[in-house]
């Protein structure tokens, strides 16, 4: 069927801020879809509240709205843009839910907007628990015994009829939010209550627990003619019970014989046919390990995280093809981008093994429970490709950037065999390491299988690796053993660790024996056809397929690895833009990255893509082969920066700021020296290594102090200490991981925080915009609300900031980007820190100012001068509208993480509010972050620490003026009464009833202002209150500044006058 010619303008809805369960994969999918639509001559209207995305670029869509993803703004955008059609299945669950809501409320009908691809009817059939069950029954596909309930008692009654344990799955939530396994009635009631409150439709599914079955997924596609294909099969190493997003996933399936495989493949195709999906779809099965019994777990009638993985695993561009199918094309009409000759109607076959590992946030949330279950906890993932399970797994482990290069964890090595045996029962992120350790201790594969239910085939593979470890521990390997170790995937550094050598020695030994990696192509067809995809992975093999050009203009761009807290999608934005800029300047580009969710790992972004870990060894190999003329490390976040030295040591020029410049910014003493030279003041501080030194330093500069390791991301391990005990506490946490670099102890200044990104060419600087943080210093910049242009910074301070930034850039030897954070404290500008690299604010500031920062930085790195680039120098003129960047958190997924904000970053993503006034932009930003801004009649509880009481009283007055009902706990209540402010009294926890818990539990509270105290026993209460607020979806603010912002938004913003703004038009 040819494409539907009545469609000229298509609306695409993105997936909003990055949260656990919905990460960068939808930027990848949405970007691919938009490009695919534009290829077909469509005018694309894009809506996404997430400014860090590539899809919200004006190069990707024709009209871009960075607006809250809710019915209200979508209605306004549809009314304004009048698209012919809406593509609902590429923006994740958020996009899909919104499209369905617009369909159900008649908006689409009213404006004659056609739903492209899968119909609303089909989406409903797949998404609605009961509807789905009915459909499956009609086509004889077994589901797990289950029942949809809207009431906890029903859940208990049903479970009594089928027996415990049962799984509770709330309907219409992301990443299984609020679900869990209940082993008894108490647990069932608790999980059910929470699940019901989180579900959009107040509905949960209670189902038979089939933990221990194999979890198998198929990624399938269907077109309007009914052609159906499977793109990829995947097997979870972790049996059913762990959310697939948190599971180790292998493609293709490894332990299924043809019979089981075809049984499930056919089932997947029957399901997608019955649901009449037009586009991509993901089907998850549970397969009994000892029979043909299986059950359909879930169907996602849209492009998903698994689609992104399947796309990168096979080379098949699922999102692109799904977009074409939505326009009416059939699979056999769509050309195959890989071979250039055949069509999209085929099933990829792969001749390698693909490994996906989740990136979990427990390095940041050290106190969080590491247990994995049905609720996803991973913030991102890595993928690795190898010609065996072993080397794919080891590559993936290295790609996680957790300072682990093997399956050996020192912490496990220190445990007794009994402890390891016990630990096999824990289902957590370290299980694979525990299994390997158990093998080392001689626990049999059969026993490990009995406990973990992990298929014995996987355990056997780990056994092979352990055996090899033992062999290498005997001493320097001979050529044969070394070759074998490399084939299995052991890093040089790990081999060195085992045989008591160094990485460099092992490298030299390899060179002596002629053991070098070869690169193979990802071609979707196992070499059956001649393919042109410049997409490679390493092996130790005979034939090397990656034949480099001898182009002297060839640049290596390092990607940023997995999405984690502190290093998000924004760095992929920067990497991709840098590649595009280099291409425009006539350079050949090579990218190395390992994150399957990203745009940068699409094989048509750079000229050549290497899907590899970002470690010194893996990067060195590629540099040796490709011999680029230089490398770009500024855009790949800390991941790339950390590799600068390795590259420089190889003699590869770092384009722009040198490795030495990076070091100067990170090395406390060198940095202080530069600050002195420039006359830039900073808070007093010291670098230390030990706890004793830290305490001495803190007492010298005076409490409170900031304690943090140098060379870290997102304030990892950073805390404010008020006394010696705090210091001891933090130092013990920091020292849990080995510290190569010193720790910084600085005087903490509580002032206004201001941030700039600048481009420096060696002479001039261009600062596109100065951003002001709403929250005072002390809250990590990534967790602060940030406003552009500034509200309260004097012209004099702006000039100081400009001068400081320029001087600093010059003295650090910056060529390209620099990000500097300042504090304005008692009318003086102090520097906090400087990073000679891209930052998380680059994408948004580029979009709202219209200054193509990455493009300029790339040009400058290659020798251009800002004066010649058309955007001027110094401070770029301020815009006449406001942009508010709002952090977004995933606290509901991480059940034991405290939500109070501090110097350590906790947000997973961000959204943007964009309007012509500050309050209006704030209002949009709050809405974009899905926060319910309280108003008249809202109930607010105030419970603040002593230092904040005065401010809380001011805020309370404003709240009363806005018609809110106030409640306060004892201390705050007393203070408010003194100030003549009337508020209801509510007991603290454990101090009688009704207490704060009763109030939150009864669902009558709309907002809580709780500023955390360091007071030991009250701190525990505060934490409990904050967690309860999260679990009951009550807005809980931990800073008076945030509270003031929300009141400003309510008071001066106008909900009914939200006007969507097309950002492609504002800078023209």
């Amino acid at each position: 069927m040819p494409k539907d010619t009545s469609i000229k303008k298509v609306l695409v809805i993105g997936s909003g801020p990055i949260v656990i369960g919905q990460a960068a994969e939808f930027d990848y999918a949405g970007t691919q879809a938009c490009r695919s639509l534009k290829e077909e001559g469509m005018e694309v209207v894009l809506v996404n509240s997430n400014p860090a995305t590539i899809m919200t670029d004006k190069d990707v869509a024709d009209h871009v709205y960075i607006e809250p993803l809710n019915i209200f703004s979508l209605h306004a955008i549809i009314e304004k843009e009048r698209p012919d059609a809406l593509l609902p299945t590429l923006g994740g669950q958020i996009g899909l839910n919104l499209a369905m809501a617009l369909y159900e409320d008649g908006t689409l009908d009213k404006f004659g907007v056609k739903l492209l691809g899968t119909s609303a009817e089909s989406i409903r059939k797949a998404e609605d628990r009961q509807g789905f069950k009915d459909t499956m029954e009609a086509i004889h596909q077994p589901c797990i015994t289950s029942k949809v309930v809207n009431d906890t008692q029903d859940a208990v009654d049903f479970t009594n009829s089928i027996g415990y344990p049962v799984i509770v799955r709330p309907a219409y939530t992301l990443g299984g939010t609020g679900g869990g396994i209940a082993y008894d009635e108490g647990m069932l009631r608790e999980i059910c209550d929470r699940g019901l409150s989180l579900s959009r439709v107040h509905e949960v599914l209670i189902e038979r627990c089939i933990s221990g079955w194999k979890e198998i997924e198929f990624e399938v596609m269907r077109d309007s003619a009914g052609n159906v294909i499977t793109i990829c099969s995947m097997e979870n190493l972790d049996p059913v019970g762990v959310h697939t997003g948190d599971s180790i996933v292998i493609a293709p399936t490894q332990t299924l014989a043809n019979k089981e495989f075809q049984m499930l493949r056919t089932a997947a195709l029957d399901i997608i046919s019955a649901l009449e999906i037009e586009g991509g779809c993901n089907v998850q099965f549970a397969l009994h390990p000892e029979s043909y019994e299986y059950a359909v777990i879930e169907v996602n009638p849209r492009v998903s995280r698994s689609s992104a993985l399947a796309s990168k695993a096979t080379g098949y561009p699922i999102a692109k093809v799904a977009a074409k199918i939505a326009l009416g094309y059939t699979l056999d009409e769509i050309p195959n981008a890989v071979t250039g000759k055949t069509t999209a109607c085929f099933e990829p076959t792969i001749d390698y093994c693909v490994m996906k590992l989740p990136r979990l946030p427990f390095d940041k949330f050290t106190h969080a429970s590491r247990t994995l279950g049905t609720q996803m906890k991973a913030t991102g993932e890595v993928m690795a490709i190898g010609n065996s399970f072993d080397n794919a797994l080891l590559k993936a482990v290295r790609s996680l950037e957790l300072n682990v290069h093997s399956l050996r964890l020192p912490k496990l090595q220190a445990m007794s065999t009994k402890q390891i045996w016990d630990k096999l029962f824990d289902v957590d992120d370290e299980r694979i390491f525990v299994v390997a350790e158990a093998m080392r201790r001689g626990i049999t594969p059969e026993e490990i299988h009995r406990i973990t239910k992990i298929d014995i085939w996987f355990i056997d593979r780990l056994g092979t690796m352990v055996k090899l470890e033992n062999k290498l521990s005997e001493g320097m390997p001979d050529a044969k053993t070394l070759r074998f170790a490399k084939e299995v995937g052991f890093a040089d550094s790990f081999i060195a660790e085992l045989c008591g050598s160094t990485r460099v020695e092992i490298r030299e030994l390899r060179r002596k024996y002629g053991i070098q990696p070869t690169y193979k192509m990802v071609d979707t067809c196992a070499a059956e056809f001649d393919a042109q995809t410049p997409y490679y992975y390493s092996t130790y093999d005979v034939e090397n397929e990656s034949v480099p050009t001898d182009n002297p203009k060839k640049v290596l761009v390092l990607g940023s690895g997995p999405i984690r807290i502190g290093q998000g999608i924004e760095f992929d934005y920067c990497s991709v833009h840098s590649v595009w800029a280099l291409k425009r300047l006539g350079y050949e580009t090579i990218i190395i990255n390992n994150n399957p969710e990203t745009v940068s790992t699409d094989f048509d972004i750079a000229d050549r893509l290497y899907f590899e870990p970002l470690t010194p060894e893996d990067v060195e190999h590629i540099v040796e082969l490709e011999k680029p003329c230089g490398a770009v490390v500024q855009f790949g976040g800390q991941t790339a920066i950390k590799l600068a030295k390795t590259l420089a040591d190889m003699g590869l020029p770092i384009l722009g700021t040198s490795a030495d410049g990076v070091d100067a910014a990170e090395d406390r003493e060198r940095f202080d020296e530069i600050l002195n030279q420039c006359g830039i003041p900073r808070a007093a501080g010291h670098t230390i290594f030990t706890t004793e030194e830290a305490i001495a330093a803190a007492n010298e500069v005076g409490y409170p102090v900031l304690v943090r390791p140098s060379y870290v991301l997102g304030g990892q391990g950073m805390e404010i200490a008020y006394n010696d005990d705090n210091i001891r506490d933090f130092m013990s946490i920091i020292n849990q991981t080995e510290q190569e670099h010193p720790i910084l102890v600085d005087k903490y200044l509580m002032g206004k925080e201001v941030e700039v990104d600048g481009v420096f060419d060696g002479e001039d600087i261009l600062i596109p915009g100065i951003m002001e943080h709403v929250e005072r210093a002390g809250i990590h910049s990534g967790d602060s609300i940030s406003v552009y242009p500034t509200l309260n910074v004097s012209e004099q301070h702006k000039q100081t900031i400009l001068r400081y930034t320029r001087d600093l850039a010059r003295h650090l030897g910056v060529i390209g980007l620099i990000n500097v954070q300042f504090i304005i404290y008692q009318d003086q500008v102090y520097i906090i820190e400087a990073n000679p690299r891209s930052s998380r604010t680059i994408p948004y500031i580029s979009k709202v100012t219209g200054v193509p920062i990455i493009d300029l930085a790339t040009r400058v790195m290659l020798g251009a001068k800002l004066k010649d680039l058309g955007y001027g120098v110094d401070l770029y003129p301020e815009a006449s509208y406001y942009a508010v960047k709002m952090p977004v958190f995933s606290f509901e997924k991480l059940t034991d993480v405290d939500t109070n904000l501090g110097p350590e970053m906790k947000s997973t993503g961000e959204c943007l509010g964009f309007a012509d006034t500050y309050p209006q932009a704030l209002l949009k930003a709050f809405k974009g972050a899905n926060m319910k801004v309280p108003g008249k009649g809202s109930r607010v509880i105030l419970t603040v620490k002593d230092q904040d009481k005065e401010e809380a009283a001011q805020l309370a007055r404003e709240m009363l003026e806005l018609g809110m009902d106030l409640y306060a706990t004892r201390g705050t209540h007393a203070y408010l009464r003194e100030q003549g402010i009337s508020a209801g009294f509510v007991h603290r926890l454990g101090a009688g009833h009704p207490n704060i818990e009763d109030m939150i539990g009864s669902g009558v509270v709309d907002m809580i202002l709780n500023t955390p105290t360091r007071n030991q026993h009250q701190a525990g209460d505060g934490r409990k209150i904050r967690r309860m607020a999260v679990e009951h979806s009550v807005l809980c603010l931990t800073s008076t500044d945030t509270c003031r912002a929300i009141l400003t938004a309510r008071k001066e913003g106008h909900s009914e006058q939200i006007v969507p703004i097309d950002i492609t038009k504002i800078n023209q």
Binding site: L256, T349, W457, A526, E543
Partner: protein, 363 residues
């Protein structure tokens, strides 16, 4: 033990011996299926060939007692990257390695199978030797390889005796040129009263046997070698008995009716080949295993019309004969291994017989 694979073009691969250590000469072909090695090894169409599995991890689920496609393996050699030392599957009864040893099949692992595949794809299928000898005479082996040709394999693999499998439905004669068990099973599934005949059974025997229909199976080798069989197939065609043919059977019917076949450079072997059914207007993913193909230009439109086309390379995948109740396909609707998406062709076959019986259809 070390093993070496030497190709006709002189390229050598050093690896490790698996299965039997006997030296073997065979035609090297590659298969891109990611599962189904047991079915592939036992598919008679691989008689005389050494199969290179492009998927690198083979033997993971071992060998079971149910999935053989014939009485024993027919492939002469198996070439893999990594052989799993133990099979993990609830049906597994032995490891793949033990199975190879028991059946005297020579194999090699730990070689760059992708490189080998790329050679076969670029230079075309060629012969090869696998040897465990340390000091082999390469020139002599290459000379030996050049002599080798897959020949007379239909006779080798075909049933020696007539077998009757009673059923309630249509009486179907199945010509066994190297049929896979699953073909029998699919016909049984449709209730057929099935009689399996050796390849050289004269057409008259079948035509006199009171059969409602004939099925021509898959099989190994060059169809043009089967001149005697082609004569008999011609007789079946002329008699107008409802006929469904698969793979070699499809090629034999084409040759019997004046079309030509040719050898493809590296064939179609795998479980992911898209085929468009022109009548249904839909594409299906098929299981394939063939080195020869019917030349589309040689098909006389007055004799047969192309019914199925390979979406990748446009080659002929199916023919519907004009004025005769005969249809044939190049791919394997019986699958095993591979997708079962075209199983509907067996239903079509039953429907064709039904219509002929009713006297409505002969066009």
């Amino acid at each position: 033990m070390k093993a070496t694979l030497i190709l006709e073009n002189g390229i050598e691969f050093q690896g490790e011996s698996i299965g039997s250590t006997d030296q073997v000469v065979c035609e090297m072909v590659f298969n891109t299926s990611m599962v189904g090695y047991q079915e592939i090894l036992t598919d008679p169409s691989y008689a005389g060939q050494g199969v290179v599995m492009t998927y690198p991890l083979i033997g993971n689920y071992g060998i079971n007692e149910e999935d053989d496609e014939s009485i024993h393996p027919w492939a002469k050699a198996l070439i893999v990257r990594h052989l799993a030392p133990r099979g993990s599957n609830f049906r597994c009864t032995c490891t793949l390695n033990d199975y190879l040893i028991r059946n005297g099949i020579t194999g090699i692992q730990d070689i760059d199978t992708r490189y080998l595949t790329r050679i076969l794809r670029k230079e075309g299928v060629m012969n090869g030797v696998i040897t465990c000898q340390e000091n082999y005479d390469k020139d002599a082996l290459i000379a030996q390889m050049k002599q080798y040709r897959v020949q007379g394999t239909v006779e080798q693999v075909s049933a020696k005796e007539v077998t009757h499998i009673p059923g309630e439905g249509w009486k179907v004669a199945l010509y066994d040129f190297g049929e896979k068990r699953n073909m029998t099973k699919r016909l049984m599934h449709y209730g057929c009263d099935l009689t399996i005949f050796p390849a050289h059974t004269p057409a008259q025997v079948v035509l006199d046997g009171g059969f409602d229909a004939v099925m021509l199976s898959n099989g190994p080798g060059d169809p043009a070698d089967c001149q005697e069989i082609i004569q008999e197939v011609r007789k079946l065609y002329e008699a107008g008995i409802p006929t469904f043919a698969v793979c070699l059977g499809h090629q034999l019917m084409a040759l019997a009716t004046g079309a030509k076949t040719y050898k493809m450079p590296f064939g179609h072997r795998g479980a992911n080949h898209p085929v468009k059914d022109l009548r249904r207007g839909r594409c299906f993913i098929t299981s394939q295993n063939h080195g020869y193909v019917v030349d589309g230009d040689s098909v006389d439109p007055a004799v047969a019309a192309v019914s199925h086309v390979n979406v990748n390379d446009g080659s002929v995948e199916g023919l519907k004969y004009v004025g005769k109740p005969v249809f044939t396909v190049q791919f394997h609707p019986e699958a095993s291994p591979g997708p079962v998406d075209t199983d509907y062709l067996f239903a079509d076959f039953m429907e064709l017989i039904h219509q002929c019986k009713e006297g409505k259809e002969n066009a």
